[in-house]
Structures are given as structure tokens and as C-alpha cells.
């Protein structure tokens, strides 16, 4: 099994497409950090202009933790797209290239192959998140220094002590990993259904965009739909920065994310084990 996973990782590493995600993260984090370093004060003024009439803010607002948080909330919505780009054709790409049949002539079960591909995809997600974490957290702290973290919600503001922030970021990255694993298992499932390399990637992206748009509207009709959209639970990492943390909501959301991963993987296994392999 380990050899199989290593082979899958090697395949991912060989594809130039795999590096688009790393390049995108490097570029976006770099641009955001540079822009905030040059003109962050205007950005902060713009955000807090509603308070200007009554309150002034003392202290270092634009610090490394806030910059990291801004980067995360910008990128974590986009990161599923970078993940789908790789995990969306892990199986269908083999079928499209005509290598799937050959691959299955080796003494490995189809289930092992699906698990190996999912594990390799998860490892890719982990490396992507580690890069994001190192660049956004360490880079921002280096450039902007430490301080208390201001979290903007649509109708409230939370201020967290600098000493109480780091562990929340670690928790947020763990939840982000789970969320992106839902995306990778979903796109892997779609990848089992087709022999077309690009289809599962496009469908995954479309589903995430549509679900996210529905999730962002305050329409009562959508309120009934939102609990059934996995994207509603993918942004629960932000709740790590609530004061106090609603552990009930966190636990439920994490459980739902895990259930989705298991469900998508089970469907993948069920379908792929019965699939007629033509190419």
C-alpha cells in the first residue's frame, strides 16, 4: 500500500499542473502582504470607518495575526479550486491517458488504488496548507509583528489577545485540512464516474462556487438548503476565532465534514469496484 501511495505521490509531483497551486499561493500571499505593508493603514481605515464617529482604536491593529487571518479568509474560499485541479483527475486522468487498465493489471485491488489516490491527494492538500501556513503566519508575523487580533463578523467585532491566538490558527488549519479533504474526496468520486480528465475538475469547481454563493445569501429559502451544503461547514474554521468558541457547533461541523469524506469515499469505492474499465 505504501509503495502504491509513493507511486501516486510521484505521479502528482511529475505533473506541472501540481505546481500551479503552490505558485498561486506564493503569488497571492506575497501580493496581499506587500499591499498591506504599503497601504494597510487605508484598508484598516476603510473597514473601521463606521466606528469613526464614536470610537478611536488604540494599539497595533495591522499586525501579523490580522494579515494572516485576511489571507486565510481570502484563500480558503479559493483553495478548493486549487485542490480540485489535482484530485479531480486522479482516476479519470488515468482513464483518459489509457493507463488505468494497465494499472489495474498489477496485483492491487481497486479499493487499494482508490485509497492510495485519496491518501496521495490528501498529502498534496497537506503540503499546500503547510505552505500557506508558513507563508501567511510566519511571513506576516515577520513583516507586521505580533498583536491582538481583531475579527470582523458581519455584525460584531471580536478582539482576541495576541497570546490567545496561535493555537486558534493551528485549529483553523486542521479544520481547513478536513474541509479540503471533503473537496478532494468529492472530486475523486466524480473522477470515478467519468473517463474525461477535465469534467470532474470543472464540476467540482462549479459545485463549490454555486454552494458558496447560495451560502452567502440571507434569503429565507436558502436557509432551508444551507444545512445540506457541505460548503456551509467548510468555513467553520472561522469559528475557531469566536469568543467563546461554540464547541457544540464545531464538533457537529467537524463530524459532518468527516461524514462527507466517508460518504464520498464509500461511493467512490462502490462505483469504482463495479466499473467497467475500458481504457
Amino acid at each position: 500500500m505504501l509503495t502504491l501511495i509513493r507511486t501516486e505521490l510521484y505521479k502528482i509531483a511529475r505533473r506541472p499542473r501540481s505546481y500551479i497551486g503552490f505558485a498561486a499561493i506564493l503569488l497571492i500571499v506575497g501580493i496581499i502582504e506587500f499591499a498591506l505593508y504599503i497601504d494597510g493603514a487605508s484598508y484598516i481605515d476603510f473597514i473601521f470607518q463606521q466606528l469613526e464617529g464614536f470610537l478611536s482604536i488604540e494599539g497595533n491593529v495591522l499586525n501579523g495575526y490580522l494579515v494572516c487571518f485576511i489571507i486565510l479568509q481570502t484563500l480558503i474560499i479559493q483553495m478548493p479550486l486549487l485542490v480540485a485541479l489535482i484530485t479531480g483527475d486522479l482516476i479519470s486522468g488515468e482513464a483518459a491517458n489509457g493507463t488505468l487498465r494497465l494499472l489495474l493489471t498489477r496485483p492491487v485491488s481497486r479499493s487499494e488504488l482508490v485509497f492510495a489516490k485519496f491518501t496521495a491527494g490528501s498529502f498534496y492538500v497537506l503540503i499546500l496548507l503547510l505552505l500557506l501556513g508558513v507563508l501567511s503566519l510566519s511571513g506576516s508575523l515577520l513583516l507586521f509583528g505580533e498583536g491582538d487580533l481583531i475579527i470582523l463578523k458581519s455584525e460584531t467585532i471580536n478582539v482576541l489577545k495576541g497570546s490567545d491566538v496561535l493555537w486558534r490558527f493551528y485549529g483553523a488549519f486542521v479544520i481547513a485540512f478536513l474541509s479540503l479533504s471533503v473537496v478532494s474526496s468529492f472530486s475523486l468520486m466524480l473522477s470515478c464516474f467519468t473517463d474525461n480528465s477535465i469534467g470532474p475538475i470543472i464540476i467540482t469547481m462549479a459545485v463549490i462556487v454555486i454552494f458558496t454563493i447560495i451560502g452567502s445569501f440571507d434569503l429565507p429559502l436558502f436557509d432551508h438548503i444551507k444545512p445540506f451544503l457541505f460548503t456551509s461547514y467548510m468555513i467553520v474554521w472561522r469559528n475557531m476565532f469566536d469568543q467563546p468558541i461554540d464547541w457544540g457547533l464545531m464538533g457537529t461541523s467537524i463530524a459532518i465534514l468527516v461524514i462527507h469524506i466517508v460518504l464520498f469515499l464509500s461511493i467512490s469505492l462502490y462505483y469504482f469496484n463495479r466499473k467497467d474499465i475500458h481504457s
Partner: protein
């Protein structure tokens, strides 16, 4: 005893408002500058923030700066803004607006109307006439609206600087677009207009006053 209290009341309420204000100003001017440690707690409807420690700097006539160890939301209004006005008795009208009785003290209500001031519209002060100190002020300025400040003192006789200042502020409702806050899962709590006003309080607790000791005045201009 009742006779004694009534004499005290007559003496306290009998003072002319202008004289009382000038006596307070004279006492206050003896403190050229001070620094103090400060603990700030917040009770602002939509802001969740723990108490913050810091240091406060004051210099006559009205320079006031709070430096905090972390992030803090402070009222825009300088609590000593009107003290500069009192330096020149001809620059304001002093209106006696009556008195209130508190256990052990008589509180005189005095309105100060600047004749010409670029910012201050009206200062209303509640003065403990017996101890000659301000216990409450309500400052109305052109740019920051009205801010109410309560001043609580320790029991030491002659204590002229407050142990606690409580700012009462009117804050507009806070609302930013969901896409900007990326707070996609939340629901609006009500459909009220974003400008709906709510009341908040900021408490400044002072300790370790250091009177008339020099400090770097750059702190006021950073």
C-alpha cells in the same frame, strides 16, 4: 444636625456657579501633568473585547493620551477637553442649572456655553460642591456628538483625580457586507437600519498616579 446639614447645603448651593468653576479650575491647575496606570473595560454592544491594561498621560491644559498594551476602543472625546476653556472666564457663559442632593454631598449642575469655540458646543458639569470636584460631565462637540463621563473618586480627603472614569457613548449599529467579512454562515440578527444607535460604556480605572513628574511629550503626537 439637620440645622448643620442645612447650613452646609446653603453654603454649598449658595456659591456662585462661576466661583465654583474657578475654584475647580484653580485646584486642577495645580496638577501640571500626570501619568497613571490604567485598566480599561468595555461594554459596547457589538464588540467582544477583554479588559486592557495601559498607561494614561495628561498635561495641562487638555492633552490626554491613553497608550494600551493591546487593542482598545477609546471614546474619541478627550475628557479634559473643556478645561482649556475654563482658563479664560470671559470665553464662556456659566449657567447655573440647579442642584441635586446626594448622600453626604450636594451636586451643582452647571452649564458652560463657549462664546467662540471651533469644536465645543456645550459642556455640562455636575460638581460636588462640598469636595470641589467634577462628578459627571456631558460634552457636546461638533464632530463627536455628546459624550457623558462619570468620575468616581476614592475616599481620601482632597482627592482631585478620579479613580474611575465611565464614558457613556452612543454607537451606531455595526454592519459590514458578508462577502467582505467572509462571514458567510451568519444570519442578520434583525432588520434594523444600520445606523440604529445603541448605548455603550467604557470604564477607565486609574491606579498609581504620578503627579507632576516629567515624561516624553511625544506620546501625545504619535
Amino acid at each position: 444636625m439637620i440645622f448643620g446639614i442645612s447650613i452646609l447645603m446653603n453654603k454649598a448651593t449658595g456659591q456662585k456657579a462661576e466661583n465654583l468653576v474657578q475654584m475647580i479650575q484653580t485646584d486642577f491647575k495645580k496638577i501640571e501633568r500626570y501619568t497613571a496606570d490604567i485598566n480599561i473595560s468595555f461594554e459596547i454592544p457589538y464588540i467582544n473585547i477583554d479588559p486592557v491594561k495601559g498607561k494614561v498621560y495628561f498635561k495641562q491644559p487638555n492633552l490626554f493620551k491613553v497608550k494600551t498594551e493591546g487593542i482598545a476602543f477609546m471614546p474619541k472625546q478627550n475628557p479634559f477637553y473643556f478645561m482649556e476653556l475654563l482658563n479664560d472666564p470671559s470665553s464662556y457663559l456659566c449657567i447655573d442649572s440647579g442642584s441635586e442632593t446626594n448622600p453626604g454631598s450636594i451636586i451643582r449642575i452647571i452649564q458652560l456655553v463657549p462664546k467662540e469655540h471651533e469644536e465645543l458646543i456645550l459642556a455640562k458639569i455636575w460638581v460636588d460642591a462640598t469636595r470641589r470636584r467634577i462628578v459627571k460631565s456631558s460634552l457636546t462637540t461638533k464632530s463627536n456628538g455628546t459624550v457623558e463621563i462619570q468620575y468616581l473618586y476614592d475616599e481620601k480627603p482632597g482627592s482631585k483625580l478620579p479613580e474611575l472614569m465611565v464614558f457613556g457613548i452612543e454607537v451606531g449599529k455595526f454592519k459590514i457586507p458578508k462577502m467582505m467579512s467572509a462571514d458567510l454562515n451568519s444570519r442578520s440578527k434583525n432588520s434594523g437600519a444600520p445606523s440604529q444607535s445603541t448605548h455603550g460604556k467604557i470604564r477607565l480605572k486609574f491606579t498609581n498616579y504620578r503627579l507632576n513628574q516629567s515624561f516624553d511629550e511625544k506620546v501625545f503626537y504619535k
